[in-house]
């Protein structure tokens, strides 16, 4: 048994949480469906009856696939485990609270990255050209980390009913689609939406995805990347603080 108890040790232990989450939560059909089917329906809803090419909607499809997959399970993991009384098991084992959160975040992030392959394949199939695939890859990785981390904040209220967190999650996620330029480019959004679009991390991810398909970017690329990193760091700090406060109230 290893006897080091530093940050690296905790990161190694968090891998157990990742594997557990993958087996228990992310391998389930509904999660995959949420990541693939829901964005597909959203895509069709925007594509039909509008004078927009399918190719121009691809960045939006990629964006909401990653966004919905990363935020599908992370908000309900803690309440779920509270209800199943498995959180007490984790809390009494040699894991810091941040380690549990880090594992949950990594599992969400990895699922988001894997699921993003589906819309990318669809985009390639319909003739989308990726002018800067490297930026798209970086955006998907950073965006997945960002969305997964932000989702941890939603799971922080000490509720044991997953439905409660699910409701908050939906309440937060859906409005973001409409202010983040997902299917309508930011430059074409109404003035009100453009004035608040900067509060959504999805805005910057979509901007990067649109840039990578040659659709033009609204913000400078560096600003998009920094904004996503900034949202991620802020979300992490807030999530850890909130969970440190609320986890003892759950068990």
């Amino acid at each position: 048994m290893k006897n080091s108890f530093g940050i690296i040790d905790q990161i190694i232990r968090s891998w157990a949480i990742v594997k557990k989450d993958m087996k228990i939560y992310y391998s389930k059909g509904p999660v995959v469906l949420m990541g693939v089917m829901f964005p597909a329906f959203m895509f069709l809803a925007f594509a039909f009856g509008r004078n927009m090419s399918a190719v121009s909607l691809m960045p939006g499809l990629i964006a909401i696939s990653v966004f919905f997959t990363c935020s599908a399970i992370a908000p309900i993991t803690m309440p779920w485990e509270t209800q199943a009384r498995t959180l007490e098991r984790l809390a009494s084992s040699p894991l810091a609270i941040w380690t549990i959160l880090f594992g949950d975040m990594l599992a969400s992030m990895l699922t988001g990255i894997i699921i993003s392959i589906v819309p990318i394949v669809i985009a390639l199939a319909i003739g989308t050209t990726f002018v800067d695939p490297l930026i798209l890859i970086v955006a998907i990785i950073l965006g997945s980390v960002c969305f997964a981390t932000a989702s941890l904040i939603i799971s922080s209220p000490p509720a044991s009913a997953p439905q409660y967190s699910q409701m908050i999650s939906s309440f937060v996620k859906f409005p973001l689609i409409f202010i983040s330029g997902v299917f309508v480019p930011l430059s074409e959004l109404p003035e009100f939406a453009r004035s608040i679009c900067f509060i959504s991390p999805l805005t910057y991810f979509t901007d990067l995805a649109r840039y990578s398909t040659g659709g033009g970017n609204y913000f400078p690329i560096a600003a998009d990347l920094l904004a996503i990193i900034g949202f991620t760091l802020a979300s992490w700090v807030i999530a850890v603080k909130l969970h440190n406060r609320t986890l003892p109230l759950r068990v």
Partner: protein, 376 residues
């Protein structure tokens, strides 16, 4: 006991839930290798204390250390194994999957983890079902799985919260045998239970907590004698005797008729079979109150009741197939025995049986927790 230092040290440990003081400045120490019982009625603060010691919740005051490390620290958790009251294996994982998850969390090297997991699953009779989901397990199997998860890291200290509650008789025996083995291996065991017989049999020392405060801490035998104080005297006469007359004898604190004794024994047996433990409530305390209410008991232990012929005891009295048998409770056996001898002579009776039993841990528990409740 293999005392090699302190396993658990608690000084002034306190936990508040709003304005409620759940654990109120408690102090105790558990030696390494000791089998320590932590008893108390429901809501007394047992589980809250365990949760503070295992780092699940934060303390609001005082100090607690595990093997010299602050309770709740990663090092303290690494050295401890926890078996919570309610099963908390992952239902969507197999037994093997649950054990491997623990192995990774505790960073047990792969080969060692697999060997230990196989060994525990075989010892605990789960090996044949190791690839079944935990959700398909019975309550007893889940408890055994959770225990094996707690033991996998070979912890020096084990926290066991109600390990036998809700189990059938065979599983209880199995679990107790296992705990005895762990004790022989020199592990420190911190046990909470509602089962007084279990605590008396297994523990070297017990602490009794009530309303968040430790009200007694000693060996079960010493606690039984010093805190229980009440002796049981079973007596049987060759002729029918009025319970009212007996209850008026000097030295009698309380009297039970044969029917009440049988009813209490039946109740206890039913509860044991059903594994009522927790649901049955407090093992001794509530049972005793139920027995008293069932018609035989004249007063709760520790109180003096010398009023004549109460309730069913008077009417159903000593006319039973078991003979004219009574159970008397006394704090002064010498006085009671001499009273019984005088009573027999005066009424030309012959005592077929007279059996004096020392107070039990259950008596001590009931007395200590009721005294505290009355003070409240």
């Amino acid at each position: 006991m293999q005392s090699q230092g302190t396993a658990i040290e608690v000084k002034g440990l306190t936990k508040l839930f709003g304005t409620l003081v759940a654990v109120d400045h408690i102090n105790f120490q558990v030696e390494r290798g000791e089998f320590f019982g932590f008893l108390g009625p429901n809501g007394a603060g047992k589980t809250t204390t365990i949760r503070m010691l295992t780092g699940v919740i934060k303390k609001d005051g005082g100090e607690a250390s595990i093997m010299g490390y602050p309770a709740g620290s990663i090092r303290a958790k690494q050295l401890s194994g926890v078996m919570p009251e309610l099963s908390n294996a992952y239902m969507d994982l197999t037994a093997w999957g649950n054990l491997m998850l623990m192995a990774e969390i505790y960073r047990i090297p792969g080969k060692q983890a697999k060997e230990r997991a196989e060994s525990f699953l075989q010892q605990l009779g789960l090996y044949e079902r190791k690839d079944s989901l935990a959700s398909t397990y019975s309550m007893g199997m889940r408890k055994r799985l959770v225990l094996s998860m707690a033991l996998l890291s070979n912890p020096q200290l084990l926290f066991l919260d109600e390990p036998t509650s809700g189990l059938d008789v065979q599983s209880v025996r199995f679990m107790r045998a296992l705990l005895r083995n762990l004790r022989q291996e020199g592990k420190t065991i911190f046990l909470t239970t509602h089962n007084m017989d279990e605590a008396a049999e297994m523990c070297e020392r017990v602490a009794i907590i009530n309303h968040g405060k430790i009200v007694a801490l000693d060996s079960p035998d010493r606690l039984s004698i010093t805190a229980g104080r009440i002796y049981l005297v079973d007596v049987s006469f060759d002729k029918p005797v009025s319970p009212e007359m007996l209850s008026n004898l000097p030295g009698v604190n309380r009297l039970e008729t044969a029917q009440a004794i049988e009813a209490a024994d039946r109740l206890r047996a039913q509860q044991a079979m059903a594994g009522v433990g927790r649901q049955g409530g407090m093992g001794g305390g509530q049972n005793r109150m139920q027995q008293a209410q069932m018609g035989g008991g004249h007063a709760l232990p520790g109180t003096t009741s010398q009023q004549p012929g109460i309730g069913a005891a008077k009417t159903s009295g000593p006319e039973t197939s078991n003979g004219h048998r009574f159970r008397l409770y006394t704090g002064d056996t010498t006085l009671l025995v001499s009273s019984l001898v005088d009573f027999s002579r005066a009424h030309s009776l012959q005592m077929n049986i007279i059996n004096v039993r020392p107070p039990s841990l259950e008596d001590a528990f009931v007395r200590l927790t009721e005294e505290k409740s009355r003070e409240k």
